[in-house]
Each structure stands twice: as structure tokens, then as C-alpha cells.
Symmetry: C2
Subunit: 209 residues, 2 copies
DNA sequence: TCCCTATCTGAACGGTGTCAACATCCATCT
DNA sequence: AGATGGATGTTGACACCGTTCAGATAGGGA
């Protein structure tokens, strides 16, 4: 981001291309959408020739995976923070869900890329170092909300169920079919909370009153 | 035109290209995956020149939308049938969910295409003629399962929540991260049912208190 | 009959991912 | 120091893609 530097017009070869490429890809993704995210465009944006990226990524796919990886780290961080800053542990699950949805809403193209690459490998990313993992956080929050930590099977099922449900909502919440319902609920946020409540993940206690 | 009678070896121009194109696209999709689904490949498969499709669809997108539309009709049918053939109305929701998941499992590329095109238009397809609509079926099943038909807002929220949750599962259930859990559950089917149960859609969740 | 229109073809344009051959520069070893 | 080698970047090419446009073809209506 400091390309305006006074001196240092251009490092010898380039400096740190793979990094620059990932950042360029992310910039294009946010600014011009996924359709504009071609390898050549990324190289152009980074100021190198179309073939240069092949010295750092074997594929276009591999570059996109690197971008997606950053996304997973970011969303994992958002989840961890949401959970930590949630006062009542019983409400941590809801806080996580909301943070997740906000990330998806604020980075739609990146979010989509993350799951597209995951689906192509039929695998979620190595969820990092355990404790920062999104799934681990959800599982912890489930236990805090009253799930039985000894019934491993049920716990895993509940974790996966929560993740799937929120992911489905994240993908569909921008469909304009839901605009009327959103309006009736009094806005985007209320809509999301309403759906989350129906997932049963928003409060550890029973349904509203 | 009628002197050929039953032979019909080869229509003059082509016969019904738009139909043939949609079918060719579907064939390629299932056989070679989404990556191989180029307009040119579809034309090739249908035995026409690369420019021919443009007399029937203004875009590649429009062709894909036609393919997706067929998919939505098929899944809507599957849902309707699952609901109808479900004895206990309280279990209709679960039956719908399972039918939906089976469709997604059996037509992964098509299912993905359906949501990809929906997302690009930020809209689900015109869900047909009301009663055959998937959402309408879910809503009906929810009422049958004990939801209050008079609280429209809650009913809509529950409907959307169910749809989103099952969609999320449909998208993720092939991630190989879940293989161990699936194995522990004793197979694919048990896994799906387990998650559905956690969604709360698998058993009537009447207004107990 | 003749023409009109819908349909299909062929060739072309700019764009894409990818590769092989070549150029460049840094680091390192004598 | 100077030569060398390996990492990095460039050029040019290939095949494929979506799309367009001018022309060929053929069926149906006047």
C-alpha cells in the first residue's frame, strides 16, 4: 500500500511478488467483482507480465487458494473475537453467527471465493491451529451454551449443523426475494437475528417470550 | 415435412435447437463437470456451429439459466412428491429436507449451477405456480408440524430458516472433512438425518410451552 | 412463383490460462 | 574481485473461450 514511496521506484526483480499478487487479486475482487479476476488482470495490476505469476503459483487455482486462505484467516479471527467479546457465554453462539454473517455481507466476493475453492477441493481449509479454528470456536460456544461435552457425536453434529445453517443463510441473505420480509422485520440486522433465532443458535434458553 | 413420417432422421435446419442445447449442456455438466461447460462445447455436443446458440439465447448466461430452470423444476417436483408421500404430516418437513439433500447429492453440478445463477441475479427463480413452489411446500409442512399459521412473520422466518439451513448442508455435505463423522454415524444417510435433527426440522417442534 | 424471415455457418476479434525459450539480476564460492 | 548458478521476470506462442457479423440456406406465406 506504500507504492507512493518517494525513492525505491522499483525493486530489482520485484521484491515480494507472491504477496503482491495476492493483494492485487484481493483488490480486483473487491473492486471489480469475481468476473474480472483473471490471472492476467492480476499480473497487470501487480505490474508484471502475464507469465510472472507462474514462478510463484503453479496455477491460477493456487493463487485463488492463497486469496481464499487469507479470507479464512480473517473470518476465523472475526469469529474468535466475537466469541471473546461476548459477555454471556450463552450468547456467544449468536455473536459468532452474527460476526460470520457480517463478514460474508462485507466481503461477498471473497466469501464466495472461499467456498468455491473449498468446494472444488471438497474440503474446508486446514482450519489453522486448532484454537483459532472457526469450528473449534463454535464447538466451544455450544458447550458454553449447555451442550453435553461428553457426547462427542452429538457435539460434532451440532457443530456442523450450526456451521451449515449459518453458511446457508450467508449465501442466501442477499437474495432480493427476501426484501419484503427484511422490510417487515425492520431491517437487515433484525432479519438476520430472526433467522438465527429460528436456527436455535441465538439464545441458549427457549424461544422468545 | 410429413412425408418422412416416422423416420425423422434429421430435421432440415435442426429441429428444436434450444431444447437440444439445454439437453447437451446438462449432459456435459453431469459427464464432465462445470469446468467443461463452455458454450462452444455445448454447440459441439449438439452438432452445430459455435454461433448457432445465439439465435436462441442472447448469452451463455441465458442458456445456463435455462438449464438451471429445469433443475429448479425438478427439485420442486421432488419436494412436492416427498411431502405428499409422507404419511405423518409432522414428518413431512424431514422428508422434504431429505429429498432436497438427495437431489443435491445426485446432481451436484446442476445444484451448484442453480445457485450460482441465482446468486448472480441475487434472486431465486420464479418459484413457479405457487403450490408447486418449494418454499410453499416447506411453509405448508411447517404449519402441519405445528407452526402458528396466523403469525405470518414468524412463519416466513421459519420457512426461510429451514431452507437456508438445508441449503447450507447440501453445499457442505460432500466436504471430506466430514468423512470421519459420517463414518462414526454409520453412513451418509445417518449423517444427513443427524444434522437435520439438529436443525430442528426433523421432528415437529410444536408450541409446547 | 418469389421473397421474407428464421436459422445456421464461417471467419474474425479480443480475451483467457498456460508453456517454453530467453533475459536479468542476486547471492555465493573461489 | 569475478565468474557462476539459480531464482525471478519477459516475450511470444498455442489452444481455447465468448461474442459478433456478413453471408449461405431453407421453409412458409404472398
Amino acid at each position: 500500500m506504500r507504492e507512493t514511496g518517494s525513492a525505491q521506484v522499483r525493486p530489482y526483480h520485484h521484491g515480494d511478488l507472491s504477496r503482491a499478487l495476492v493483494e492485487a487479486a484481493r483488490r480486483i475482487l473487491e473492486a471489480e467483482g469475481p468476473a474480472a479476476l483473471s490471472l492476467r488482470a492480476v499480473a497487470r495490476e501487480a505490474g508484471v507480465s502475464p507469465a510472472a505469476p507462474y514462478h510463484h503459483f503453479k496455477d491460477k487455482t493456487e493463487l485463488l487458494e492463497a486469496v481464499a486462505h487469507e479470507g479464512w484467516e480473517a473470518i476465523g479471527q472475526a469469529i474468535t473475537e466475537a466469541r471473546r467479546s461476548s459477555a454471556d457465554p450463552g450468547e456467544a453462539l449468536g455473536a459468532i453467527g452474527l460476526a460470520y454473517l457480517h463478514f460474508a455481507r462485507d466481503n461477498p466476493a471473497l466469501y464466495r471465493l472461499m467456498y468455491d475453492t473449498s468446494r472444488d477441493r471438497t474440503s474446508m481449509p486446514e482450519h489453522g491451529k486448532e484454537e483459532d479454528s472457526g469450528l473449534a470456536n463454535v464447538q466451544g460456544a455450544l458447550i458454553a451454551a449447555g451442550a453435553d461435552p461428553n457426547d462427542d457425536l452429538e457435539l460434532q453434529l451440532a457443530t456442523v449443523a450450526s456451521w451449515c445453517a449459518v453458511h446457508g443463510l450467508a449465501e442466501m441473505c442477499n437474495f432480493k426475494d427476501f426484501e419484503p420480509l427484511k422490510a417487515a422485520m425492520g431491517g437487515d440486522e433484525a432479519f438476520l437475528r430472526g433467522i438465527l433465532r429460528h436456527f436455535g443458535t441465538f439464545q441458549a434458553r427457549g424461544p422468545k417470550h
